[in-house]
């Protein structure tokens, strides 16, 4: 597998910036009260979704979590429709019914964020089952946090996938925190890779580095496509902000936050790209300004779209 091509790296960089900037924007409009409900941003964790999605086609599946904007963007979600959903508008992916915790785009294999911790894991496993059943070469990815590994859903899904050698990659973004508590509350082990031993599933732990993740994800996706079964990847991600926007992280030491921010996967990647001359300063500026414009445009679109009609609330329950 090895290193991505130059073009691929630029694409990856672009995706990471897009996630970062989109979520920064989301935090802003959330504070305005334009987005309602819960908003969980993944700023600091952009490497994992981009690292894995770089190996996926639109036909591949991904089931994400409450902290799922990054995966959706990396998997190619339409930003306008996603933004409209976050704004609760009719033009949104879910017709404004569901908001941030339920972003989904069937056309791109984005099976949905999930408000229930761990619930997406067996659902993604079902997508892998379907791919194997239909003998396609599709691969499924389940993303989740280290906290989710406490749920029975995690256990039952991995057990089944291992027995059936399903084409799936379990991507755990271990950001060290589940809501307001550290991993020591949630697990007796330090690394989520240990969990995989119960199922004889190969597992690897990687740093919050997009190229490292890209490499391991590449191997895992290849294994899956070849019919060799599931892999678990733990990414040692870093959550910069609170569990949700509005959480002041009083339970978390300032140094802990500072350490997390220091491991900025985006900045590190950018530095590397500059050093290796894949990108020049001007390229980076251009990417950033282009994305700013795209995001502004998405926000403008979302703002201007109408809310659904109350009568539409009653539609579409059954087909």
């Amino acid at each position: 597998m090895g290193k991505p091509s130059k073009e691929k790296m630029i694409e990856m960089y672009r995706a990471m910036v897009k996630i970062r900037k989109t979520e920064q924007k989301l935090m802003e409009v959330f504070s305005n009260g334009e987005i309602l409900g819960f908003l969980h941003v993944s700023i600091g964790q952009e490497a994992a979704p981009v690292g894995i999605c770089s190996h996926l086609t639109e036909a591949d599946y991904i089931a994400t979590t409450h902290r799922g904007h990054g995966h959706a963007i990396a998997k190619g979600i339409d930003l306008k429709m996603a933004m409209a959903e976050l704004f609760g508008k009719k033009a949104g992916y879910c017709l404004g019914r569901s908001g941030s915790m339920h972003l989904a785009d069937k056309s791109r294999g984005i099976m949905g964020a999930n408000g229930i911790v761990g619930a997406g894991i067996p659902i993604a496993t079902g997508a892998a089952f379907a791919a194997k059943y239909k003998k396609t070469d599709q691969v499924a990815v389940a993303t989740f946090g280290e906290g989710a590994t406490g749920e029975g859903a995690f256990h039952e899904a991995l057990n089944f996938a291992a027995i059936k050698k399903l084409p799936i990659v379990y991507l755990c973004e271990n950001n060290g925190w589940a809501e307001f508590s550290p991993m020591s509350i949630h697990a007796p082990v330090q690394s989520v890779t240990k969990r995989a031993l119960a199922y004889d599933i190969p597992a690897v732990s990687v740093a919050n580095d997009v190229l490292e993740i890209y490499e391991e994800a590449g191997k895992a996706v290849e294994r899956a496509r070849k019919g060799e079964g599931p892999t678990l990847i733990e990414v040692r991600s870093e959550r910069w902000y609170g569990h949700y926007v509005g959480d002041a992280q009083k339970y978390r030491g300032k140094e802990n936050v500072a350490q997390a921010m220091a491991k900025d996967c985006l900045l590190n990647f950018e530095k590397g790209l500059l050093e290796s001359k894949v990108l020049k300063k001007q390229d980076i500026e251009k990417i950033n300004t282009d994305l700013d414009a795209e995001i502004e445009e998405a926000v403008r679109f979302a703002r201007e779209c109408p809310y659904p009609e109350v009568s539409e609330m009653m539609e579409g329950l059954y087909l």
């Binding site: 599946y61 089931a63 959903e85 949104g92 992916y93 879910c94 017709l95 404004g96 019914r97 569901s98 339920h102 989904a104 785009d105 069937k106 099976m111 949905g112 999930n114 408000g115 229930i116 619930a119 067996p122 659902i123 993604a124 496993t125 079902g126 997508a127 892998a128 089952f129 379907a130 791919a131 059943y133 239909k134 499924a140 029975g152 859903a153 256990h155 039952e156 899904a157 057990n159 089944f160 027995i163 579409g316 329950l317 059954y318 087909l319």
Partner: protein
Amino acid sequence: MKDIRYIFAIKEAMEEEMDRDENVFLIGEDVGLAGGSFGASKGLYEKFGPDRIVDTPISELGFTSLAAGAASCGLRPIVEIMFMDFVTCCMDSIVNQIAKMRYMFGNQYTVPIVIRMPEGGGLNAGPQHSQCLEAWFAHVPGLKVVMAANPYDVKGLLKSAIRDENPVIFIENKTLHAMKGSIPEEEYLIPIGKADVKREGTDVTVVSASRLVNESLKAADLLSKEGISVEVVDLRTIQPWDRETVFTSIAKTHRLVVAHEAVKQFGFGAEIAAAVAEEILDELDAPIMRVGAPFVPASYSLEKYYVPGAEDVKKAVLATMERTF
């Protein structure tokens, strides 16, 4: 026509639909090699193989959510939950995921999935193996809830459920598994959402489902000897239930009994009674009586006194005849 047992009618329905559509598959505990704990899939493993008749680890949540994922990727799973009591292990899957996937994702996904489970007493299997929990599912928007009272119905309804684009909770009854009945040789379907007047009558309407339909028919026989003419309406579908047929019947008889095997309190009978009291109260000539199990867990050695039957329906009907207001 041919004579067939209820459990075999289930098998035929699954087999025919699997023949018809290669995306249909069956998943559950011991459904494969063993042919199902109650024998519903006997022979299907041999015919369709392990890819389509899928034995699972004991993990109701895992395989039900797996089926949800598979359904949203184009397959049409039939999930077997061995006893309805075990559905408590996968309520998140059914209620937060399956029921909501279509609506919640803005109609992008359809989740054509049938979750079969047998409920009720009959095996003296005690408090954790005898429950009837259909009212829970009927309270959850997005699910259809079907209950079949005899071999003919179970086959036709199950085939419709498998073809339905929506998730269907398909409730069998253990005591009915061995019931024999006559069904056509040729293919037939029974529509979901339509009640069936199993017996016409003029004095009292008994609305019921599953095993209690047969008990209500027995009660109607007994009562006819006493000169009381009972109309027995089999809901067949609890959600969405067929208001028109029920209301039409009540408009004729002006008396209503609702009967189910589930615990009476907060059972589906409450909804039928409440809807009547809300929408056509003026049709009633007597209080609405309900029949259901008493408010305790199912009993092992006293099961036959616990589970409601024809005598209970009869008593309820008589009560509506006496208490005119």
